[in-house]
Amino acid sequence: MQIFPRKLNLLPLVLGAAVFIAGGAVTFGVWYYFSPKNLQVGYAPQQPVPYSHRLHAGELGMDCRYCHANAERSYEAMVPPTQTCMGCHNIVRTDSARLEPVRQSWQTNDPIPWTRVHKLPDHVFFDHSVHLAAAVGCVTCHGRIDQMDVVRQDQPLSMAWCLDCHRDPGPNLRPRTETTNMQWQPDEAWTAHLDERVAALNPPTHCSGCHR
């Protein structure tokens, strides 16, 4: 007696295919959507002070290094001390309500608790100074900060993304004088000598270059 129809014989095959496809979809989903490109890029937490890079760096045209003064000296670019803010803001907009946390910090000597946007794992030893010495522009990793009211992560900052540039740094290099220029575009005079620069640079691609 035939209880099940004949076509049910296909069931194991269909099930197998379904599991394969579903498994593949899950794997792809995790591989793609759980990657830093998806999880990290676009992160734009609210900051304790609604500081606008668009205003300061964009409209007012302040150089990045006015505040991030150690970018060329230290591994940390440094979020500036309250002192730097107060350098201008004890003259400019002294009664703005949005600057209240800054004045608070200045009076109490307590730090302003900024939320970190660009975070690398603890076992990565990234150094701002050497990247600026090699003349990689700020915009390469941080995006058009001068157009952001709220700072947001622009690039994945994943190991593969780092290595892409370490293996082929040419497209991301620029003259040392232009590192903080957000709008710089390579011209022919620059591209003509790029290969020499790249050869002299030879960025590390071995483990201890970044992991120590």
Binding site: F34, L39, Q40, Y43, P45, N70, E72, R73, S74, Y75, E76, M78, V79, P80, P81, T82, Q83, S105, W106, T108, N109, D110, P111, I112, P113, W114, T115, R116, K119, P121, D122, H123, F125, D127, S129, V130, A133, A134, P204, H206, C207, S208, G209, H211, R212
Partner: protein
Amino acid sequence: MNDHEKTLPEPRVWRSLDELHSDGPRDMRTDHEKTPGALLETHSLLGRRGFIQYTGATAAALGMSACIRRPVEQIMPYSRAPEYQVPGVPLHYATAVSHRGDAIGVLATQHDGRPTKLEGNPDHTGSRGALGLLQQQAIWDLYDPDRARVPAHREGDSLLDSSFEAFDEAFGALIATHAANAGRGLRVLTRGTTSPSFMRLREAAKARLPQLRFHTWDSVNEANVLAGAHLAYGQQLGTVVDYGASRVVLAIDSDFLGTEPGALRAARAFGPTRAIERPDQEMSRLYVVESTFSVTGGAADHRLRLAPSQIEGYLRALARTLQSKGGFDLGAIAPAIIAAPLDAFSAHSAWLNTVADDLLAHRGTAPVVLGSGHAPALHALVHAINVALGNVGRSVKYFAPVDAAATDPVADLKALVADIGSGAVQTVIVLGANPVYDAPADVDVRAAFGHEGLTLVHLSSHREETSELATWHVPEAHFLETWGDHRAIDGTVSPQQPLVAPLWGGRAPIELLARLAGEANWRSHYVVQQTFRSRFPAPGSFGREWRRTLHRGVVAGTGGVPVQPPLIQAPAIATALAQAGETAAEGIELVFLPDSRLFDGRYANNIWALELPDPMTKIVWDNAALMSPATAARLSVRNNDVMRVSVGDASIEIPAFVLPGHADDTFTLHLGWGRPSAGRYGAGKGFDLRPLRSSAHMHHVAGATVAKAGRTYNVVHTQEHGSMEGRPLALDATLEAWRADPRFAQFRSVDPTEGPLWQRQDYSTGHQWGMTIDLGSCTGCNACVIACQAENNIPVVGKAEVARGRQMSWMRIDRYFVGDENDPRVALSPVACQQCEEAPCENVCPVTATSHSPEGLNDMAYNRCVGTRYCANNCPYKVRRFNYLSWHEYLDGDPELIGGVPTLTPTYGNMPETRKMQYNPNVTVRMRGVMEKCSYCVQRIEAAKIATRRDDRDMRDGDIVTACQQTCPTGAISFGDLNDPRSNVARKVRLDRGYHLLAELGVHPRTTFLARIRNANPAMGTPAAAASEEAEG
């Protein structure tokens, strides 16, 4: 090959007596390793059920974490940024410490406000850039979680936490009381000092309170040395032997490269005289006569072991022998030593005649040095011998005393105790000393300090044994927290500059002293500035000169100028020699020595020190009664048998440990252990010797009786760890043999004729890092091991885990005995990762966690490591270390320490916050389950490369200094670019005594060892060689 083997008979090389007496390779596994699954069982909090629970919880936690975007992290910039502080860029400050009456210049590194590492200050005349083991480990003490944090006041039987305000008020009242009675009944007990400020304030306090009396106490002190110089010359003098200018050195019971005063200065000068680069160069020769086996004995060309009671006889007999030779005259001393018996040394006649000839042949450059444990009369005799040999002014120099008011600590402490007993004392202020723990047994400090009506103020870093009796206990600030100054034995003055404000408050000894002296501003900064203003005036502005001094770390124009000693007081020495004279007694002789790691016990809670293997015995976490194999056989004791050692009525129990090469019928006992109140890590570790040490016998005592206590105690040592199973590893040869066969080392350790199966990488371009370790000047002092530990965030694992072979130090110093078990010589080899060009570890890693850099480094990517341990298994040098557990917090999770059930916290939750502050931020703190090993200080390499990029310049030799190289007192380690033909390391690699460890494996290590050359005196005969041939036959 065969010819070379013939010319170089190979004596047997062994690491422990068990290895020597075993036939085949031993099963080195511990019981735990033989039992499958022992790892989980031993860590009882993680049984099978626990494992499943945690696995479930972890899986759940992982699922959760995917939903959370990221842990939100905050950036806390300064409100007002301190000047000079660039976040992320370490700062270095010159400061100084004192040790055994000498000052040592320190360059301290500070990362974002946290001092993390101490190095030597190259501008300092004494240490010249090196740092010893004790100074290296001192950084840990700053972060010791058991340091006292607030003053404590006695209420009834207990000490209750109080406050600095309350203490200041009470102390002010106390001083006011004594100011009213001119200091009657007020005593101050201090440690020996080198501080000009301390001495200035001491005089000021005496002037203000005329009846105030100062006492000194140090259980390890230099009193005999100072008294000997005083006896010899009739005035106080500091003695400095210039080993750099010495051709022949005779060290009599003097561990001058290890624990004696001025050891760092000595090692710095002595090292280069041993590291000659060509066979035709002149090399110094070292004779050592000693009872224990010290690192100096290990460095000796000829070594004679004698019981301490024979050492005096030897010195007298040597003096007599010298006197009997032509052209040597001890003058009025001669009659006193003419009766010295020679027959006791008939078996060692070469040690009198040949040594005397050698000394006389090198007049002026042949210093004789005597250990600080011997009587002043003998020291005076040694001064007389040095005068007669013409050494004074050339290899022996004298300087004005560091502290002209220094007294004999034993007599001083006795006087204090007697005065307290007679009721003449109302107040005792103890600055730093801990006499309740370390006073001689016959001086009952405990009873004295408990005297009815006595007010005891104790200043110390911890609430320790003495504090328990105190009326007030005040936390002492660490030397990195407070201002001070130190005068080196050659007169160089260094400021002691703090790097941080006291973590929890704390006072310096000079601050309490300044209050006694009635200074209105008693802060150490002001006090030290006042001293410098008055004592070291400089032309021009004080402020500018002060800043310059702080920058250099030394006061310009001080020090380095020896004084011409007066004529030797021969009659006085003769009288003293006639009165002195130790009578040998039946029984065992005991030698008390400061421990190389804990010193007198002040480092007893320092976990780095506790887990550091002793340089000779390789014992960790304990001390033991060291004895010779013959004595052990006579007493029929073996390692770990607990002995009852008695002197008169007093006795202690301590396990036995056999040290080949030790003098017979003598036990060596190391001080500083067995402190009941050391702190959470050190309390009760090891065995306290106090009952055996009496004021008459502080250094050695004869006539001890010993008996087996009938139980055993597990002494853990690392001497059999990482054994290389009898292959030729630490190579040496006599100077003659080297001259005959300059490339002997390479013939013993030969590259294979066939290359690897794959194509070799091309290392001919770019930087290629390499290291050389000169076994000629290495003394095995362990400073590099601690420097590495501080630099690279290396955890300690505790005694039980060391017993399982799991200690983590990236650098180990293998100590081999060579030849006869009763009188062996020592061969050392410091082994860290050899950075093989064809690294066997890399081939077997399934996840490429360890791979090669184009600069020849064997990189370790911790976050890739999955912990298969294949690499460690495949490493021929056994230098890879595995994090079986979360070692950093492991000790703090110990139920005995935290008084309860430990929690399994992978986030270092058990670990005291302060200990985290010591970590080097440039090195990953490794977690459980990953492999680690020496990286050639890759963080320093990368930092230097980044600096050259930043400054647009080429790398120079010396830009990169590894932690071990920086601290090495003898300069045995070189590091640099092998492709830079001008680099120091490239030159040394090509020296003909260079060889690679296990070169025959073809792994092409980047570390090159330079074989040790022993400047043996042919006239001495070669008993060691003869004995070893015997052993082989």
